[in-house]
């Protein structure tokens, strides 16, 4: 993040208080040090730092920051409580709107949401809202207990939530607080979804995710692990037996590949496999944990999203000598958060723009040893509004690699939709919903990546929040 040095006073503010336009940076592990460990990169504000940053807030009457938050957190209120030293109350304010503050504070793209909307952003650096949220969540965790909100009396209604990622956790806690009896089903052996298998430890420690899952449990939500809806119970069985309503949040699904020659050679991973082995299965602690991961020395990560950044940064920590991110457009079109790309760069990861592999070459023993590449130019804007990459004829070249991670997104897992004919899906296989998350099927709502096809943790939570409101309305009719 570029620091604004100018300290000119904002004219709209009260005359007695001088506004500080510089935000307080959060301490981070040095790049050289963090390259060789999976500990969290950003170490968080101290109490003094949090208060100093909170004191910058001008407590606007018009709450632009709150409007910019997908789950509408009462941001000025928690900041005010924090700087008055009332951290417990600040925590309560947060918990009114999010069950996952420790997660949101770390992985939300605040620069596009609350902080983007912050009044100070017009003149200088916006309040570091994400860092303050994280500070409060970490403080609560350090106190040992849980700040449990006021619970509504039991409604006698039962809700099934399918998938325990950010969207499912949001719906489960929102509905539990409103008095409904919530059961959550998770196919994997731990709850948390992408927060566990996808986002790496050094960006989001798994202890924090499990702590927030435990909070949702404390709200009375029952979680069944190792249970695959679509196999163990069909959607119709859930609806016809115990449950009055169902929320589908099964997540991203099947990894996409490039469909070019040699893609199934050994040492070519999907980002999902690479990250699942590393994060969920803790392959970086092999053999203490039983799941291994094979890593080479020269790694190529194909793609420019946050998942590509995470994969590249995991590869560095797993001992790769050289890690290259290959992206077919330019830095400007890269979908990854700027902060994550900067972190990756600091850790010595090389970026190659405007190029793409056209084939993977074997070493003769079915291991990848090189990639045939072609350079790209940018043509007219495509459906996404970004300029379409066009191969430049005759620009072929080759680079040596011994490990490849393909990070091109995912397509929805068809398990439930294919067995539920009256659940309407798009041509891409995503579940179709209205603006409140309602699907075509009676009593079924959906949200998160199964609807969007692949987006952020906070947007999945926002969709969960909206659907939970609609479900609550339906359940209390």
């Amino acid at each position: 993040m570029t620091e604004k040095i100018s300290a000119d006073e904002s004219k709209s503010s009260s005359p007695k208080q001088k506004i500080n336009l510089n935000r307080l940076e959060m301490p981070k592990q040095e790049p050289g040090e963090r390259r060789s460990n999976f500990n969290e990169v950003a170490t968080g504000y101290t109490y003094e730092m949090a208060i100093e940053e909170a004191n910058r807030c001008i407590q606007c009457k018009k709450r632009n920051c709150q409007a910019g938050c997908p789950v509408n957190i009462d941001i000025p209120d928690f900041i005010r409580n924090l700087r008055e030293g009332n951290i417990e109350e600040a925590s309560r304010v947060l918990k009114k709107k999010t069950s996952l503050p420790g997660i949101c504070g770390r992985v939300c793209p605040q620069e596009l949401q609350c902080e983007h909307a912050c009044t100070l952003n017009k003149k200088g650096a916006p309040i570091a809202i994400g860092r303050l949220e994280r500070y409060i969540a970490d403080w609560e965790r350090s106190q040992g207990g849980f700040t449990i909100p006021e619970m509504a009396p039991s409604s006698g209604k039962r809700v099934a939530v399918v998938g325990s990622g950010p969207s499912g956790l949001t719906v489960a806690s929102d509905l539990a607080v409103r008095g409904h009896n919530v059961t959550m089903f998770e196919a994997l052996h731990v709850a948390g979804g992408v927060l566990m298998y996808g986002i790496p430890q050094f960006r989001l420690p798994k202890e924090i995710v499990q702590r927030e899952v435990e909070y949702v449990r404390r709200l009375g939500v029952e979680i069944f692990l190792d249970t695959v809806i679509g196999i163990n119970f069909s959607l119709d069985e859930l609806l016809n037996t115990k449950y009055d309503a169902v929320y589908l949040a099964t997540g991203a699904g099947l990894p996409m590949f490039m469909q070019i020659p040699g893609e199934n050679l050994n040492m070519i991973y999907s980002a999902n496999e690479f990250l699942t082995r590393t994060n969920l299965m803790k392959a970086y602690l092999y053999p203490q944990y039983a799941t291994p991961i094979k890593m080479g020395k020269r790694v190529a990560v194909i793609g420019g999203g946050n998942v590509a950044m995470d994969s590249a940064r995991c590869a560095v920590r797993l001992g790769a000598r050289e890690v290259n991110i290959i992206y077919r457009r330019t830095r400007a079109e890269m979908p990854a958060r700027l902060e994550e790309a900067e972190n990756a760069e600091e850790e010595g990861i090389n970026f190659h723009f405007l190029c793409t592999p056209t084939a993977f070459i074997s070493d003769g023993r079915n291991n990848v040893s090189a990639m045939e590449m072609i350079r790209m130019g940018l043509g007219e804007p495509d459906a996404s509004g970004r300029r379409r990459p066009v191969p430049i004829e005759g620009s072929n070249y080759a680079i040596e690699v011994d490990t490849v991670v393909v990070s091109l997104g995912t397509s929805p897992n068809p398990l439930i939709a294919s067995r539920t004919p009256d659940l309407e899906t798009s041509r891409k296989g995503t579940v179709i919903v209205d603006e409140k998350g309602k699907t075509s099927k009676a009593r079924v709502w959906a949200g998160g990546d199964i609807v969007s096809g692949g987006a952020t943790v906070i947007s999945a939570m926002g969709e969960g929040r909206r659907a939970a409101m609609a479900m609550h309305e339906y359940l209390t009719q």
């Binding site: 298998y197 163990n232 991203a252 990894p255 094979k294 079915n366």
Partner: protein, 281 residues
């Protein structure tokens, strides 16, 4: 937690484990698999189901001790508990009334083939089964296979390919009878090498040949793509599109073999896992 209901060594390094998992048992079908995790630090390992008891809520599978996790499993006793057990995963084997069905099973397949053959036999098929073992001393599961077969041929891996007592030799012999006793369908569950060889043997006859593939998996629900393979020009995932495929449509057997051996050098206990002539060794 999933308690172990019964555990028995069938032959040297080959075990049958029965696990209490009522939800899995209630839905199990022939040819499907489960994924288990021994303890909280364990890996996710898939095993093909070789039987179930819906009333008792138990699910059985046969496994070979080949790596760290299977060695850990072998040390467990009835009453011990597995941390996680999920399934039934994958699509069930394709069943139908075909006529004369030839099955070839080796290793874990000797156990896991039984539910498939039982269902095929109940549907009126005539079953000829070739069971393959490394040698006479390491043979097991004969009785169970016999109970679901009309004819059982024993083949040993220490026999050369042209011997009628080898699996491929026995298959060749059955195919030679195609005029008088035609084979309508072949089902294979064993080593990749043998499944590949037999698929090539049946191709000229146009006999539909189903292979049960066991590539490496991590999540087993379609999320990671570790088990991908090329089938008829498109990428398929063994965990959700398989594990049964038409052997004549499977492409890149060499790749499949190499991918299967990715981690063999780190965890393989048995020298015999390192197949002769395999490009990986």
């Amino acid at each position: 937690m999933f308690p172990i209901h019964a555990h028995k060594e069938l032959a040297l390094g080959v075990h049958r484990m029965s696990v209490k998992a009522p939800i899995v048992a209630s839905r199990a079908e022939p040819g499907q698999f489960i994924i288990l995790i021994v303890d909280e630090k364990g890996e996710r390992v898939p095993f093909t189901i070789s039987g179930w008891d819906r009333d008792a809520g138990t699910v059985d599978f046969v496994y070979l001790e080949v790596g760290n996790t299977t060695r850990q499993l072998a040390a467990l006793k009835p009453g011990d508990e597995l941390a996680h057990f999920v399934g039934p995963l994958g699509r069930p084997a394709e069943l139908g009334s075909f006529g004369h069905v030839v099955a070839l099973a080796s290793g874990y397949g000797i156990g896991a083939m039984v539910p498939i053959l039982k269902a095929l036999k109940e549907m009126g098929n005539r079953i000829t089964t070739i069971m393959q073992a490394p040698d006479m001393n390491r043979s097991f599961g004969e009785e169970e296979l016999l109970s679901v077969s009309d004819r059982l041929i024993k083949a040993f891996g220490d026999q050369t390919d042209d011997s009628p007592a080898s699996a491929t030799g026995a298959m060749r012999m059955l195919l030679a009878d195609q005029a008088s006793d035609p084979v309508a369908r072949v089902v294979l569950m064993g080593s990749l090498c043998v499944m590949r060889l037999v698929s090539e043997m049946t191709r000229p006859y146009g006999i539909k040949t189903m292979v049960h593939l066991t590539p490496l998996m991590v999540d087993g629900t379609g999320m990671c793509g570790a088990c991908r393979l090329s089938v008829k020009g498109s990428n398929r995932f063994a965990c959700v599109h398989g594990p049964e495929f038409d052997g004549h449509e499977v492409e890149g057997w060499d790749l499949l073999m190499s991918r299967r051996c990715t981690y063999a050098d780190e965890t393989a206990l048995q020298q015999s896992f390192q197949c002769r002539g395999c490009s990986q060794w």
